[in-house]
Structures are given as structure tokens and as C-alpha cells.
Amino acid sequence: MRLLLAAPFALANLAAAALVPKAAPAAAQLDFFEQRIRPVLANKCYKCHAADSEKIKGGLLLDTRAGVLAGGDNGAVVVPGDPKNSALIKSLKWVDKDTQMPPKEQLPADVIADFEKWVAMGVPDPREGDARTAKAVKPPIDIEKGRQFWAFQPPKAVAAPAVKDTVWPRTDIDRFLLAGIEEKKLKPVADAEPRALVRRLYFDLIGLPPTPEEVGAFVVAAARDQAKAVEAVVDRLLASPQFGERWGRHWLDIARYAESTGKERNFTFPEAWRYRDWVIAAMNADKPYDQFIREQIAGDLLPAANDAARDALKIATGFLALGPKSINEKNREQFRMDLIDEQIDVMSKAVLGVTVACARCHDHKFDPIRQADYYAVAGIFRSTQTLYGTDNLGGKNRNASALIPLGPAPAASAATPESKPAAPSVTDLDARLAKMMAADPKRAARFANLSTAQKEQLAKRFTEKFSAPLAPPTKANKRKGAYAMMKGAGPKTGAPQCMGVQEGSPTDARILTRGEVDQPTDTVPRGFVQVLSTKTPPVIPANASGRVELADWLTSRDNPQTARVMVNRVWSHLFGQGLVRTPDNFGATGEKPGNPALLDTLAVKFMEQGWSVKQLVRSIVTSRAYQLGSAHDSAANEVDPDNRLIWRQAPRRLDAEAIRDAMLAASGKLDLTPDPSSFVALKGDAYIGRGVKPESFTEYQSSKRSAYLPIVRDCVPEVLDLFDFAEPSLVVAARDVTNVPSQALYLMNNTFVREQAAALAKRVLAQPLDHAERIDLAYQLALGRAATPPEIERAQHYLLDEARGLVSVKGGDKDKASELAWTTFCHALFACAEFRYLR
């Protein structure tokens, strides 16, 4: 496009160039141009006046001699030899407001003087070519200059600033924040009430509400010593297995975790759940964050103490295999490069908070990332084999792959595809089909008319899965469907396998012109993103993909971004917004941090404390700032409506999982045992929309925690989808918070919500209490606080009134009417705003 749009200008330039006689300028004059003029043009003018500017302003191009002489929409800009009558000089001198250049910041007087001198010399300018070749003379991205950008500078810890109010701060975090607040002549609001605080801590740390007993105990303890009470609760919650389910899910947003390919043809990933469980376990074990990253990039290449540890390391690399895929792509090379692109995108956004993938087609438009950097990293992934499985029933899948076997390695070469166990014969398959017929004739019927060739293909596809003995047709097996059984899906049948990556044949990638797979140009050695490169980047051996080195580079203490990005994310989960509010984009188009010194200091400390996420969480939640109340303050709101200074804890809506889990917790139905696999694993390989209905995922019901709900791309469970779940095809570091009528309709009418309300009603009615006490108990279970006397009175009126009205609905049965009235009352507690907001 760039060349196309430049065409008319190019013509004009050529014409102008033809008219101006070429008197060869003296070498000294050209030196003057090179040293004094060209850098200024490049830095100050090309943004709007070069052939490849985003938007060419005023039709003026200053990136070639021809362009300078041709002038722009308003005519000539220079009269060679006559600075006084040159519009360029007038613009630089800001004579006229409408034409002042650069528009926002005037150049220093000596630079303007240089330009006058240059025009007086007759505009010596060696830059050849018309606009079409402008790109060739455009200076390449200046990496050294790029490094000056805040995000590419290593974080530096600084001492907490002095504050006037020395009593308020509890930790250094408080001092950093208070300094900013005091600077604006503001004050933080009052601390949170203990009840609000304990509710906040529970939801933030484990994603569940405290029980009434836990609230009561905290209130008593806090009255004695609030700081100590908080520490005790925090330590207990950090040690709880629910911590990993909550914080693991935060990472799964980043890892765009899902159990299907998404896109045009949506095929399931029945083994994806293993990665989910690995993440939860890693969070619970407080696996150091650098190690956490290293294992996801190169786990398969790291030493393991035993088979279980080796399996875990293989599963960790699922991070690179879980991405959305155009499984029907005809062009293999295109599919491969798209897969690599997705890997680069998720890796760079998730770990580095920059968008390296922008450089697939061209140098990054905004950040100092070259196209060559992209292909250096691409080479690493090109030397890597990505194994994600998927099925080819129906032949719609053009890009299925094997999976990685788990369990003890029978031979050293077990992981290579060549050494798969022999495919079962068609006779075997027939035997199995016969057994399946017995178990579930209806579902097996679809296999009845397969041709031998199809059977052979089928048998080959599921080689590993068939190697396990077929489970007897139990009742449970029948329920899951013989289909799944035959595929060996689910954790209990078939040899366990996982998604992930392993070494391919090491090779460097070629730069693709505009990212087009059929236009390769120069080969780039495997490597890393230069602007982020550490002092001594690891050297990639010729016989390795470079993933180990990539992992080392990503997690090096010299890498400016890794720690900062994670610290910012943890912060955003505890304050509702990050110190940088664009948590997956720290680049030029992202936002600058609200409190850079605090961010940097936390990042350095994070690394010094062994990259411990739990320690980091602990240090934040034990600050006074975290424990602030949510009161509104007009003065502060006027100055800082977005609460960037953190003068309060802005109220926050619970996220989708917490809303659902809190209903289950209040109803008493919550099943805290982890799901042993996933509904998707039970379904097995499937093409969604063909044989498997999307509704089986969107309407999936379970009483387990939301972290275990099936996450199929484009078929996310309704409750998650409605309340702004992370789009599972994208790296999502900060979810949206919307408020739309469809959410209200869900809370008012959805069956799941009504069922939980009925269970809560049953729960309180089962207690030997009077009505007022039951109302109070319902408040405690749902909202974590006692009901006030007016609230109890209002509820009593409501119950009577509604029960009266429901008598006719319930066919005259007053007891049933009364019970339903209680259900609708409990339902109201789930629907009210207080239920889903943290104060």
C-alpha cells in the first residue's frame, strides 16, 4: 500500500527533480546536511512527511531531495538560496500558528539556524530517488535510542520517598503512594471496615467468600490487632489449595487457555486440561515465576528428577500448543507460520508485555522492534515441533498432529513420532467396534458404514489410544458414551498424553516480505528481541532450537520487562487496575505507569525474593493502601477520578468465576474437589457443531469451581461469557467490566441462579431459627454481613406478601408458596449489586 499511495507524489517529485538542474554540491555541504539536517528531518519530520508515514500531512514529503524541492499541497517549501522566502524556515520559526512546525515543540534556535544555512547553501541534499524508494533511505530503527524508552530500561529499586504523614503508612508501598497523594494535597480515605476487608481478602486471594464464622473470627481478631489479623488470614489463604485455582485462572487468561482450536473449524483439545492443572499446581506450590516461565517455554528440555516431574515439564510446554488454529488451512507453510506467529504473540505479550508479533510484516510501527527480531525468534519456534492433537474424523482437519506421550519413557526415543506403537489392525478395530455396539449401539451406528480405508485411517490416527485395554462397558462408561470410550478419551482409559512442544530440526528462519509465506528473503540467525536484549544474551547452539536459551533470556534478571510485567498484573488483580493500565502492552502505544518508582521497586524486590508470587501478593495486601475503604471523596475525585494515585480502593465487581462460585458457596452446593480432568476430555476428540452441540459446553452444569468449567473457544459457558470472561483466543491481562441488561436477565431468570437460590432457601429454612434469624443468616451467607433491623423488617414483609401471591401459583399449597417465597428472597440477595461488588 505504501508504494501505491505514494504514486502521485512520486510523479510530482520526479517532475520537480527534472526541473531543478543538478549542480553537484561540495562534499563539505553534504557533510553539513548529513550531520545537521538529515537527523533532524528523520527525527522531527518524517513522522508526517515521509512516504511511509502513517499519514502524510499536507502532501509534503521531506524524505527525498525531490520531495523537499517539490513542496506540498501549499506549494514550494524552499527557495534554494533564499531562506527568508522559504516557507520551511517560516514554519520552523513558528511565524504563523497554522503552519508552525514541528507543531507541538519548536526546534532549538541553533537547529533553525542550521536550516537557514542549509537553504542559503542551496539545499544540498544527496538523497536520491523519488518517494518510491524513500523507504530505502529511511534510517532503520535505532535500537540504542529505543532502549531509552522507560519500559526497555532495567527496573531500578529506589528508596521510598519521604512523606509528611509518617503515621499512616504501614509499608514502603504506602510511602510511595502517599507521596503522590500528598503532592496533590489530598488524603487517602479511611480504612475499610473489617467485614468489607475480610470479604475482599477472600475473594482476591481465593475467589470465594468467607463463611459467616470466618467473618466473625476476623472481626474479633481485627479488633485486637488488625495488622496481625490480616497477616493470619493472608497466610492461611495463601496456603489454601483454592489460591491456585484463583491465581492459576489469572494466568490462564494470559495463556489464552482453551480446550479447542476455535476459528473456522472448532476441534476439541481433549488433553488441554492437563496444562490447566499444571498451572494451578504451580501457583499453589509458589513455583518461582522465572522457573514457571522457563518450564512453559522449554520444560521438555529441562532436567527432571523422576517420571512424574518429567511429565509435568512436558505438560508445561502446553502453553505454546494451546493457541487457536485454522485447522482447515490448506497451505501447510501458512499454517506453520501462523502457528509460530501465535506462539511469538502469546510469549511476548504474556512474558514481556510487548507486541513483537506486530513485526511479522514490517518493522514495528511504534516500538523499536525490527522485523529481523521477529524472524530471529520465529527461527526458534520453527526449530520446534508443536503437538496439539485434534482428530480428523470427517476429513475436515487438514492439520492434525500427534500428542506427546506421558509416563515412563520405554526407550530413549519414545517421544519421536517414528517410534509410535504399531497401529492396530482393522480387525482389531472391528473387534472394538463390535464391543462398542454392545455398549452403545446408537452412537456406534455411525461407524457401521466406514470403508476399510477409512477404518485404516481411523486406526492409525488413534494408535496410542488403542494401546490401552478397552474398559468394560460399565454404567458410567455408557453414560459418557461409547464414542468417547472408543477414542480412549478421558484420563482413565488410554495411555496418557499431553499437548506441548519438543525439539524439531534446528533451522534459522527467513524474513518474509510483508509476512507472506511465498516471499522469503534474508535468513536471520535465531535470537532474541534486540531492544530487550541483555548484556550478554545466551548463545544458541547450532544443534538446538534455542528454546532453553530463549527461556533463559526471558527470565534473566537483566531482562527489563519480565518482572515488571508480572508485578503489574498482580497489582491489577488486587487494585482493579495496574500501575500500567495496559498490562499486556508496555510499548509506545501502551500507557506509562502511574507510579514508575513503585513499579520498579516492586519488580526488583520480586526478583530478589526469588520470584515468589505469594510473597508479592502478601507484600501488597498487607499494605495499608490495599486495606483502604472504598468511600467516595469529592476532592480526590475531582483531581484524580480514575484513582491512579490510589486514594481509595475503588469498588470492584467480582469476576465471572467468583460470582458463580459465590452463589454455590452460599447455597452450600459448592464441591471443592478439583475436577479430575475436564468435560472436554470426557467428550473426547470432536468437531464442535458436528456431532457435538455447542450448547453442551455453553450450558454445561457442574457444582465444581468455575476454574474447572470447560473452556471451548466460541462456546464459553454462559455465566462466564456474560460476566466478561477473558476471550480465550487472546492474551487477556485485564478483563472488561461491563454492565448490560443481559447480565440482569441472567441474574433474574436463569435456572442455575434459581436453583442456587432454592438451595440457599432450603439451607436457612433447615435451621431451627425464627424468621428474623433466618433472614439474617441468609444475609450472612450471601453478603457476608448481618442484616440490619430495617432490612429484616422489609424482608419479612416481602416474604409474607410474595407467599400470599404465590399461593395460587402453587395450587393453594401455602407451605410450598412460602418456601418459594423464601427462594425468591434468596434469589434477590444473589441479584443485588452488593452480592457482586467488593467494597
Binding site: R2, R653, T738, V740, M748, Y798, D801
Partner: protein, 469 residues
């Protein structure tokens, strides 16, 4: 709508509330009005219902918008921008990226249509019958030739930042006429390419975001807004339950320090309650006559889905919804253009024509602005045979109804359709013009956020007066 009285919330008269102040009452507590001593009956009413109709800045030509979003970038050279020279030079070297591309003359025939003689391709035979009602904008251009950025910019004005969508701005500016329906409805939008940003409210109060019905690639016949009925409670008793919920919500607001969102929650529950009565009626196409359904192509496999979308759009328009968007995807013909483009046009031609006819017959076309187009156009040459690539520098969108001149071709691209050379209309200009047709001054429709007054058009936008009737 009485459009003669001065806009009382414009903030021009010092004593009046600004639109933004009104909204702040919604977002900062009901007590705010009293606190500021600015309460008036109207303002108080408005503050309780930010969706009530508001007078525009100046007399409006259009009351509502139906945006037919063609996602993917329809090739203007093959549809509405006749390029005989391109056909003549077909096969000659193009100037596209990397070289090697060849100019690709349209494989489709063009004909002059209507009294106005607008050139329209054979791909849109039925739409072409409305030529005299159509205003072709040949000078469209946008910033970035990439789908997600351009599609988001088409919807929000910005490709870089999360900003309120055009529909949200319209709703913020004008409210809506039917309080029982969402004021901004988007049917079958893509869930990627910006996803909810495309109909989001960003910093505008959440009540202005669009309500999504269905999603791209899913049959709109199955689409619904779920959970419209409570199986336990008859409506009257559910109202009592809702009263209890709202009483609790209002107490939360009154406690101070409440999230501005809580007031949004109150609004959205009320809207939801009204919607559950109204939406099933409006979305139920069964009450339409067989002739109407046939006119939209419903029941015919090719046109069924988009026909339903268009008919639903007409029903929503008729019911008083302010801003309606329907979407047809798959206009990204880098290859197989001849067959794929034909399919797209076949799927949309009859439904769009039916929509225009239907609106006209019901007297709605005169104040309904219909907008057709994608996020950009396509190049006259493609790197692959039978294909065209992305082109942000020149393409065609068209408008009909709502106060635009019919039978007008405004602006032009060069001989090949490379770029707009005359009557250029940038996306910002499009937005400014749409707001203007709705009676809103794009420079005055502002919302203060984080210390700055934001506009849909940022610091850009020129109202294209030339196309106004």
C-alpha cells in the same frame, strides 16, 4: 420529535445542566443533583433514566441508524465503483507491494441504474433498483489496512484505544424512543476484531453499550437474548422481587462511596425487566406476512440468515431503537474473488433491497439513515490471481434515507480505484456526518473523561454537507 426548542442540556446556557453533568448524576449518585442545587423536574427525570429521548443540537434529518456492516472489506471495484480503465488495463503490472501483482479488471459487468444513472455492478441487481435513493461515497478512506484495527476504527473512530462505539455515542446524545428495548442493538457481530469494543461504551456510562443478539457465523434464527423468562414467578410477583433488589441497590448507592456502576446496575435491571416483555415480541418474525418474509429472502438458503437480520432490523427500527447494526462477514477476497464475492452479494442483495423497500413503504426511510460498507476496500491488483488485497486509501460506502441525497455519487477514486482523489471522506468525516444527520454537532457531543473532553471524532471530522438533502 420537537427539534425547535434549544437543546436544554447542551451546557451552552450557564444555568442548564450539561449532558455530561447529567450523566455524572447517573454515575455519581442521585444525591448529586440536590447537592449541586441544580435539580429541575426534567433533569431529575433524566437523571433517573439516561435513556429518555433528548432533543438534538439542531433539527435532525435522521432519527435512527441501521448500519449494514460488511466485515472483511468489500471490493469497491466490483460493486459500486465502476472502473472501466481498470478493465482496459487488466493484466498490466500493478504497483502493489513487492511488485509482480497485476491489475485485475472487474470480472463483473456494470450498468447505469435509475434515473440518476448511478453505475452499479451486476452483483447487486435488486439493491440497484434503489439507485435513486442511494448516495455512494466513493472517496472513503481510513487509516490502517488491517481488519481488526480498521473494523474497530469504523466503529469507534480509534484503532488504537478503547473508545465508545458510534452507537453508544448516538444513544448518549439522543437517548432512545422505546424504553422497553435496548437503544442500541447489534445483530450477529464478530466476537473477534475488537469483540465487545465494537459495541462497547468505553468511558461512557455502561447503559449506552450495545446489546448483542447472536454472533457471527451462528444462525441468527437461533439467536436470542437468553433468560427472558422466570419460570418461578409471574410478572407481577417478579416485579415485587425486583423492587426488593432495587431497594437494596439504592441503599448501597446512598451509603456513598458506591461504585458509579451500581447506579448502572439499577438502570440495567429496569431495562432488563422491560425488555423481557418486549423483546420476544419484536424478535418474533412469525407475525410477518409470508409476502414480507419472501421479500427478504427468508426461507431461501442463500438469503435466509441475512434476510432475518434485515427484517429484525426493520422491526427494531419501527419499535424505536436508536441504533441498529447488522453484520455480514467474509468480504476478504484475497483470492477466489469471482465466486466468493458473488456468494456474498447473493446473500445480501435481496435482503438489503427488501429492507429499503420495506422502510420506504412504512414511511421510515425518510428518517432512517441506512449505511452500507466495510472497514476498507480492496486494491485494483492482488498478489494472488483472482484476488484483491486490503486498501485503506480509497473505497466505497453508501447511505440511503435519513436526509441524504439519493442518486448521488459523491467523490471518486483514481482510474483504478487505488485511492480517493475527490470528495474524500475519512472515517472521522463519516462519523461527523452521521452525527450531523442525527442532529448532533460532533464537536459539541463530548464527554469528559480523565480530565479531557472526548469526542467520537477526536480532533478530526468534517461534516460532508454536500450529500445532505
Amino acid at each position: 420529535m420537537n427539534t425547535n426548542r434549544p437543546y436544554e442540556c447542551s451546557g451552552i446556557t450557564p444555568s442548564a445542566l450539561t449532558r455530561r453533568e447529567l450523566l455524572r448524576t447517573v454515575s455519581a449518585g442521585f444525591g448529586w443533583l440536590a447537592f449541586k442545587g441544580l435539580a429541575t423536574a426534567q433533569a431529575a427525570a433524566d437523571s433517573r433514566n439516561p435513556l429518555l429521548p433528548r432533543a438534538p443540537h439542531f433539527p435532525a434529518k435522521a432519527k435512527r441508524v441501521i448500519f449494514l456492516a460488511m466485515q472483511g472489506g468489500p471490493a469497491h471495484q466490483d460493486t459500486f465503483d465502476y472502473k472501466p480503465k481498470l478493465s482496459e488495463d487488466s493484466g498490466k503490472p500493478g504497483v502493489a507491494k513487492g511488485g509482480g501483482a497485476k491489475l485485475f479488471g472487474s470480472p463483473f459487468k456494470f450498468e447505469q441504474r435509475g434515473q440518476s444513472g448511478l453505475w452499479i455492478s451486476e452483483l447487486f441487481p435488486k439493491v440497484a433498483e434503489h439507485a435513486d435513493e442511494m448516495c455512494l461515497l466513493h472517496g472513503m478512506n481510513t487509516d490502517i489496512p488491517n481488519h481488526p484495527q480498521a473494523f474497530v476504527q469504523l466503529h469507534t473512530g480509534s484503532s488504537q484505544f478503547v473508545r465508545p462505539s458510534m452507537g453508544a455515542w448516538a444513544l448518549y446524545g439522543l437517548g432512545t424512543e422505546n424504553q422497553n428495548l435496548p437503544g442500541f442493538i447489534t445483530i450477529s457481530p464478530p466476537l473477534q476484531l475488537g469483540g465487545s469494543q465494537l459495541f462497547g461504551s468505553s468511558f461512557l456510562p455502561a447503559i449506552y453499550q450495545g446489546t448483542r443478539i447472536g454472533q457471527q457465523r451462528a444462525d441468527v434464527g437461533d439467536a436470542s437474548i437468553g433468560n427472558l423468562k422466570n419460570e418461578d414467578l409471574p410478572t407481577g410477583l417478579q416485579r415485587k422481587q425486583l423492587d426488593l433488589v432495587q431497594a437494596m441497590n439504592r441503599e448501597l448507592v446512598a451509603q456513598g462511596g458506591a461504585n458509579p456502576e451500581v447506579e448502572g446496575v439499577i438502570e440495567s435491571f429496569e431495562l432488563a425487566f422491560r425488555m423481557q416483555g418486549e423483546i420476544p415480541k419484536v424478535m418474533d418474525l412469525a407475525s410477518e406476512s409470508a409476502a414480507t418474509k419472501a421479500m427478504y429472502g427468508i426461507g431461501n438458503k442463500t438469503t435466509d440468515d441475512f434476510g432475518k437480520q434485515c427484517l429484525m432490523a426493520r422491526r427494531f427500527a419501527e419499535a424505536g431503537v436508536r441504533y441498529i447494526e447488522v453484520c455480514h462477514a467474509g468480504w476478504d477476497q484475497h483470492q477466489q474473488l469471482t465466486s466468493k464475492l458473488k456468494q456474498n452479494c447473493a446473500a445480501t442483495d435481496q435482503p438489503i433491497a427488501a429492507l429499503l423497500t420495506d422502510l420506504r413503504e412504512r414511511g421510515l426511510l425518510k428518517d432512517t439513515l441506512v449505511l452500507w460498507g466495510g472497514e476498507f476496500g480492496r486494491t485494483p491488483d492482488g498478489r494472488r490471481p483472482d484476488g484483491r488485497d486490503h486498501n485503506a486509501k480509497g473505497y466505497t460506502m453508501w447511505m440511503a434515507g435519513g436526509g441524504v441525497k439519493g442518486g448521488l455519487a459523491h467523490g471518486a477514486t483514481d482510474d483504478y480505484g487505488y485511492q480517493a482523489v475527490e470528495g474524500k471522506v475519512h472515517v472521522h468525516d463519516l462519523h461527523a456526518t452521521m452525527l450531523s444527520l442525527l442532529g448532533l454537532d460532533h464537536e459539541k457531543l463530548t464527554y469528559r473523561y480523565a480530565g479531557r473532553d472526548f469526542r467520537l471524532t477526536d480532533v478530526h471530522g468534517r461534516v460532508v454537507k454536500e450529500i445532505m438533502a
